[in-house]
């Protein structure tokens, strides 16, 4: 899994590229948490899932975990562009009640 990012004013855009499963999650977790520490002053973080080619329940824990991390810095978190399957998984697990979809 590749993590691409882009800071524009008060917003941090994080693009996840590739497969998000138990194998790839630990690396992604480390990288995104480092980004969160470096961008603690921003107002919102947007996870762009357009290029996530596969995601299972590991992604639920991953996104809720990152939500908690950013939340500690007072940064609002959003999700955008999930695939149909990813959207189904995030909706049924209640992730959108914590992290709004744009």
């Amino acid at each position: 899994m590749k993590i691409l990012f882009n800071r524009r004013n008060d917003a941090l855009y994080i693009k996840l590229r590739g497969e998000l499963d138990e194998h790839s999650a630990s690396g992604a977790r480390r990288e995104v948490d480092r980004l969160a520490d470096l961008n603690a002053d921003c107002e919102q973080a947007v996870f762009d899932l357009a290029e996530v080619s596969f995601m299972d329940s590991t992604g639920i824990g991953f996104l809720i975990g990152r939500y908690k991390k950013f939340n500690r810095y007072g940064v609002k978190v959003y999700i955008t562009n999930p695939s149909q399957t990813t959207d189904k998984i995030l909706a049924m697990s209640g992730v959108y009640s914590l992290v709004r979809k744009l």
Binding site: A25, D56, S57, I89
Partner: protein, 157 residues
């Protein structure tokens, strides 16, 4: 037509991607839609990941996952049967494990939605488990049924 395959793999996270792709490739003979294929990959990934993170967490001599698939195809539709087995620690209370959001690994960012996803994404689903012996997940999916119903509706309209 009936087709069959069996895979025996090391229970390591490197094999998660291989396992779901292999089953998806096997399922191709049933002409699934992209969304059906995606459902199958997700369900397989859930079951295989559970073997790796739960079944063998306590350490064991044989850390293997066994995947068996059967495909039946008729004129109108197909059916894929998947059996995923481990010889790990087993599940003490299967009913409780199937409850949405129930997890024994909360500290590792697990959400407890794996079994619920398998149930939702597949047509049939069941689990057999014995404490100390292992766990077997059986699931199947009808392929092409939704598409055929859509077609029938259009013809009848």
């Amino acid at each position: 037509m009936e087709n069959y395959m069996k895979l025996e793999i090391a229970a390591i996270s490197e094999n998660e991607s291989f396992a779901r792709s292999a089953v998806a490739a096997f399922a191709l003979t049933l002409n699934p839609s992209l969304s059906e294929l995606s459902d199958i990959k997700t369900a397989v990934s859930e079951a295989v990941t559970n073997c790796i993170v739960h079944a063998y967490a306590g350490g064991s001599n044989v850390k293997k996952v066994y995947i068996e698939c059967r495909a039946n195809k008729s004129e109108e539709w197909g059916e894929l049967h998947i059996q995923i087995t481990d010889c790990g620690c087993g599940i003490e209370d299967v009913d409780r494990a199937l409850t949405p959001f129930y997890t024994t690994l909360k500290d590792e960012e697990r959400s407890g939605m794996g079994f619920t996803i398998m149930q939702t994404f597949m047509t049939d689903f069941s689990v057999k488990s014995e404490k100390g012996k292992g766990t077997q997940v059986m699931m199947s999916k009808k392929i092409g049924v939704a598409e055929n119903e859509e077609l029938r509706e259009r013809v009848n309209a």
